[in-house]
Structure formats: structure tokens, C-alpha cells
């Protein structure tokens, strides 16, 4: 599984959101994309999962340009967990998860026992095996996102795109969702808000600011006090423990 992006540009009218992004994601890698609000990290991911069309550049999925793939073909290789939002329907949890089988289905094909088995396994993976009959709308935000993750797993793709999936969630659910994803041994690219979470889970980080890549490397290489100040204009202290894990402590003005 490999995703390559070359000089990807995106503009809305005269406003350039992405000014030429070069990006690569290799098999079984867990790559995090970081950057301040409005930096273009989400827009870039949307180009990768095809909700937006880049106005320039090229993205390939296992060597094939995205334009040459049908939506169904790309949905068989790449599943998405997007930002949490409010849903206006009353499906049961199992029904939502089963929709992940859509790209595998022909027009009139019904869900068979195999599809149900895959959906139930995915629900078990995210720890919601007992929830299948529950109404999706009545779940908490953290549970809903895990159901959406289960739906993505039901697509049985090699690659998972996480577009700030843990926004608005409590720290417990943030860690829980990232733990589940980490345990799956898939190829993952994730837009991450929280730098500590990025440092905890990602093999490699790509930093985007003002539509351009401003840094790349392992969390330990990239996340220095100076770099974080340049990116976010926030003072911080980066602690490192004996095993080389880093921890970022933000320093508000009255502490300095």
C-alpha cells in the first residue's frame, strides 16, 4: 500500500489553500499530519480521500492516479474516519457498520452472512459488540466515532485515513480510538490536532503551515521547542524520558 502526492495544489477562487504538497505514505506506516487550524492539513486529506479535487498536482494510490480510479475502486483501498459531526438519521449501529460493505457490493446485491460476520467482527474490534441493536443517534460522541471506525474497518482496506477523528472527544476516547487504530497494523495517515497524541502514535510526522510543508521527521526529530513556537506561536517545554519518548508541556504566558 502506497500513497504518493506530487505538488498537490488547491485553490478556492484566488485563495490558495495548498501551495504544492509533496507527500508519501508507505506500507504499514503511521504518518501524522500536524499544523495549525486553517493550515490546509484537512484539505490535503480531503484531496486524498477524494471529497475534494486538487486544482493541480497528482495523487497516486499504489501507482494509479486517483482520477483513473472509480470511487468504488478507491473505497476498496482506502477507508476514512472523518471529523465527528451531527448525523440526522436513526439507523441502528449494525446498519451503519454494514454500510462499510457498500464498495464490495454490486447494485442489487444484498448483505449476506459474510457481510454480517465482518461487520460484527469490526464492532467487536472497537469494543462495541453489544451495541449492534442500539440506535446510532443515541450513542455518545466517542461511541459514534468508534462505530464509524468499525464501518471503515468493514471496508477491509489496507489503508486508513483519519481526518481529525478525535476532535471534540474526551481524552479517554481520543486515546481509545488511536489505540484501536494502532493495534490494527494498517497503513495510516492521520490529521492530528494534539501534538502529544501525534508524538505517541505516529512513526513520522509531516507539518503543514499556510498550505506548504514546513517540516518532516519522526516526532522526536521534528517536535522541538523552537519548531513548535514557529508553527503555533506557543511556548513549550519538550521533555524526553529515558526510552526516548517525548512529552510536550505548553507554557502559558503567566508561567513564563
Amino acid at each position: 500500500m502506497e500513497i504518493l502526492a506530487e505538488a498537490v495544489k488547491m485553490a478556492f477562487g484566488s485563495k490558495e489553500i495548498l501551495k504544492g504538497i509533496d507527500f508519501s505514505l508507505h506500507n504499514k506506516e503511521f504518518v501524522g499530519i500536524i499544523g495549525p487550524n486553517g493550515s490546509g492539513k484537512s484539505t490535503f486529506l480531503k484531496c486524498v480521500y477524494r471529497v475534494q479535487k486538487p486544482t493541480g498536482g497528482k495523487i497516486t494510490l499504489n501507482g494509479t492516479p486517483l482520477d483513473e480510479l472509480s470511487y468504488r475502486e478507491s473505497a476498496l483501498q482506502l477507508a476514512v474516519v472523518a471529523q465527528h459531526n451531527v448525523y440526522s438519521f436513526d439507523f441502528s449501529v449494525l446498519e451503519v457498520v454494514l454500510m462499510g460493505r457498500s464498495p464490495h457490493k454490486k447494485m442489487l446485491e444484498r448483505d449476506n452472512l459474510n457481510d454480517y460476520r465482518i461487520a460484527r467482527e469490526a464492532l467487536a474490534t472497537v469494543g462495541l459488540a453489544d451495541f449492534e441493536e442500539r440506535s446510532f443517534a443515541t450513542l455518545s460522541g466517542g461511541e459514534q466515532q468508534r462505530v464509524i471506525l468499525a464501518r471503515a474497518l468493514t471496508q477491509q482496506t489496507e489503508c486508513l485515513v483519519l481526518d481529525e477523528p478525535t476532535n471534540h472527544l474526551d481524552v479517554k476516547y481520543q486515546l481509545q480510538i488511536m489505540d484501536i487504530v494502532k493495534s490494527l497494523d494498517l497503513t495510516v495517515v492521520a490529521a492530528v490536532h494534539d501534538l502529544n497524541i501525534a508524538a505517541m502514535y505516529c512513526d513520522r510526522l509531516v507539518a503543514i503551515k499556510d498550505g506548504q510543508i514546513v517540516g518532516m521527521g519522526t516526532p522526536r526529530e521534528l517536535l522541538t521547542e523552537k519548531f513548535i513556537y514557529d508553527m503555533y506561536e506557543v511556548h513549550c517545554r519538550v521533555d524526553e524520558d529515558t526510552s526516548g519518548r517525548i512529552n510536550i508541556v505548553y507554557l502559558p504566558q503567566h508561567w513564563q
Partner: protein, 351 residues
């Protein structure tokens, strides 16, 4: 397996509804100014099939004529209209992702009224034959849906919001033209027939029309039933659907055209019948859930039963007078709708 037993239970519900539909037909056939016993109905129906004579052949006795010429055609029409409107309501609510949508939402009602008004007051389309008002309304309704589809595709791909706003804008235009015609025609009698037409009626049902409308409505409903997976995806929204491998754009247009076709034929044969297409989908969603695979067939049968019973009531509730069906349905429908509004456990629009 649990999903097996679930499928069986949906099949059971449908079987039960089919039995109820037959019972509703029998009840509605029996009542009216002349009461018929079930034995008479049974004999009248069996005789028609065994005699081999055409339905219109004279001299087959009053019972035969009451059943086959007066009551059955309008009941068949009521069932078709109920089925069509309920399913169109389900489709429209999915297509525009809005719980307030009904079959007429995209300006179809005002398109149809403009057509009918022009036909009644200006005599447009008199050459089209006896039901020229229905034909003009059909054309108005269908042209309106095409117009809304066209507008919503201007300046970028259509989406549910653009469809709704386009529908509202064109509705206002059509409404203005209708008022314009009414104002300048200054024709009291014509205004009365417009008002009567707007209330809807099954009285004009004829077998030769049913032979056309029946297959169209049933085939369209079956087609939409096969599209359950897409309709489910529509409720998730365009972005989620894309990541699940489906571009909904083209499907949205197809479903709108198919349901406009159904609504057009409903308007042609029975005028405007409100509330069925709004309330039935919600009630059924509360009972069987949002999955369109179950929702569409159950809503279709329930809508049919509802209008067959309503037609029976219309003919009998006031002695020797037929209450326009639109009035009765609004009287039943509006309280149902308020009940739905205040019932909080049901969350189509999000809680």
C-alpha cells in the same frame, strides 16, 4: 442467526399488512349508500372472473355495477395513490435529507396548481380530452421538477439545500402566476372548481386509466425499493457516501425524476392529496427503523391501506355526501404530525 430472524419478521409484517389491505378493500367495498354483504361482494367478484364478459357490459346486475364500476376502481386508485405518495415521501426525505420533505416539496404542488388553474380558467388544453385539467396539472408538476433540478445544477453540482431553495423559489413564481390568472379571470365558478380540485378526489377513477397508472406506480415503487442501499447512503451525506465508493449526484437526479413521475400521475388522477406522503414515512420509520430495505415496502403497503380506509370513511362519514378526501386526511394527518413533532425519542432530524 439474528439477521435471518429479522428478515423473517419484516416478511411477516408485510404479510400482515397485505392481509390488512385485503380486509380494508372488503370493508370499503361493502359500505356506502348501498350496503353490500361479504357474500355479495365475493359473488360479484368471482362472477366477473368466471363470466368472461367485459366489465362495462350492461345488464350484469346492480351489485356487479356497484362493485366493478363505482367502488372498486376508486379503491384501486386510492391504494395506488397511497402507495405512490408514501414511497415518494420516503424518497424525497432521503434525497433532500430533511424530515419536513413530502412528495410535493420541490414545488410540485404549485406547479400542478398552476397547470390546473390555467386549464380551468383559461381553458388551456381543452383539446386533450375529458381529464384535461389532470393532464395540465401533470405537465405543470413534471415541468416544475425538471425546472428545480435544472436550477439546482446551475453554478456547481446540486445538493439538498440547493434543491430545497430552488423548489421554494420556483414555487413562489408558480404561485404568483396562479394568483395572477385567478385575479384577472374573475371567474367565481372556475375558482370553485379549482378549490374542489385542490382537495383531491378518487371519484374520477376509470379502469382504462388504472391500467396505465397501476403498472407505472408499482414498477416505480419496486425500482425505488431496489435502490435501498443508495437511499441509506444519502442520509449519511455526500462526503461519507463518496468515501464508501458512491457518487450520489446522478442517483439523486434519477430518484427525483422517478418520484416526480409518480407524483405527476397521482396529481393527474386524484388531484392534490396532502399529508400522506409526509406522515406515513415518519410513522413507519418509528416502527421499523430507517433502513430503506424495510422502510419502502412497509410504507407502500401502509399508505395503500390508509387511503383505502380514508376513502371508505369519506363516502360514509356524512350521509349522502362525499367529503373531499383532502379534508379528511388533513384532519387526521395534522394531529398525527404534531404528535410526531413532540415525540422526542424519534430522531430523524437529530435530537
Amino acid at each position: 442467526m439474528r439477521n435471518r430472524s429479522k428478515e423473517i419478521s419484516v416478511a411477516l409484517v408485510m404479510l400482515l399488512l397485505a392481509v390488512l389491505l385485503v380486509l380494508a378493500f372488503l370493508w370499503a367495498l361493502s359500505i356506502g349508500t348501498v350496503k353490500l354483504s361479504f357474500v355479495q361482494i365475493y359473488e360479484g367478484i368471482v362472477n366477473q372472473f368466471t363470466s368472461g364478459m367485459a366489465i362495462e357490459t350492461a345488464g350484469q346486475g346492480p351489485v356487479h355495477d356497484i362493485i366493478w364500476l363505482l367502488r372498486l376502481p376508486r379503491l384501486v386508485l386510492a391504494a395506488l395513490v397511497g402507495m405512490g405518495l408514501s414511497v415518494c415521501g420516503v424518497i424525497m426525505q432521503a434525497v433532500v435529507k430533511n424530515p419536513l420533505a413530502d412528495p410535493y416539496i420541490l414545488g410540485i404542488s404549485s406547479g400542478a396548481s398552476l397547470g390546473a388553474t390555467a386549464a380551468i380558467l383559461l381553458g388551456i388544453g381543452v383539446a386533450l380530452g375529458e381529464n384535461f385539467v389532470g393532464i395540465a396539472a401533470f405537465i405543470g408538476a413534471f415541468a416544475m421538477s425538471l425546472g428545480v433540478l435544472f436550477i439546482s445544477n446551475l453554478g456547481g453540482r446540486s445538493n439538498s439545500i440547493k434543491l430545497l431553495l430552488g423548489g421554494m423559489a420556483l414555487s413562489a413564481v408558480c404561485g404568483a402566476f396562479s394568483s395572477f390568472i385567478v385575479y384577472f379571470a374573475n371567474n367565481k365558478e372556475g375558482m370553485q372548481s379549482i378549490a374542489y380540485w385542490m382537495m383531491g378526489s378518487f371519484a374520477g377513477a376509470k379502469w382504462e386509466n388504472l391500467m396505465i397508472i397501476g403498472p407505472i406506480v408499482i414498477l416505480a415503487v419496486l425500482f425505488l425499493w431496489t435502490q435501498s442501499r443508495m437511499l441509506n447512503l444519502m442520509l449519511l451525506g455526500d462526503e461519507s457516501a463518496l468515501t464508501l465508493g458512491t457518487d450520489l449526484h446522478i442517483y439523486r437526479q434519477i430518484y427525483l425524476l422517478v418520484s416526480s413521475l409518480i407524483v405527476g400521475f397521482v396529481v393527474y388522477s386524484a388531484g392534490m392529496i396532502g399529508f400522506v406522503g409526509l406522515v406515513v414515512p415518519h410513522v413507519i420509520r418509528m416502527l421499523v427503523g430507517t433502513d430503506h430495505k424495510k422502510l419502502i415496502p412497509v410504507a407502500a403497503l401502509t399508505g395503500a391501506i390508509f387511503l383505502v380506509v380514508a376513502d371508505g370513511l369519506c363516502r360514509t362519514i356524512i350521509p349522502r355526501t362525499e367529503l373531499p378526501i383532502g379534508i379528511l386526511i388533513s384532519i387526521i394527518g395534522a394531529p398525527c404530525f404534531v404528535y410526531l413533532m413532540i415525540k422526542k425519542t424519534y430522531g430523524f432530524g437529530g435530537n
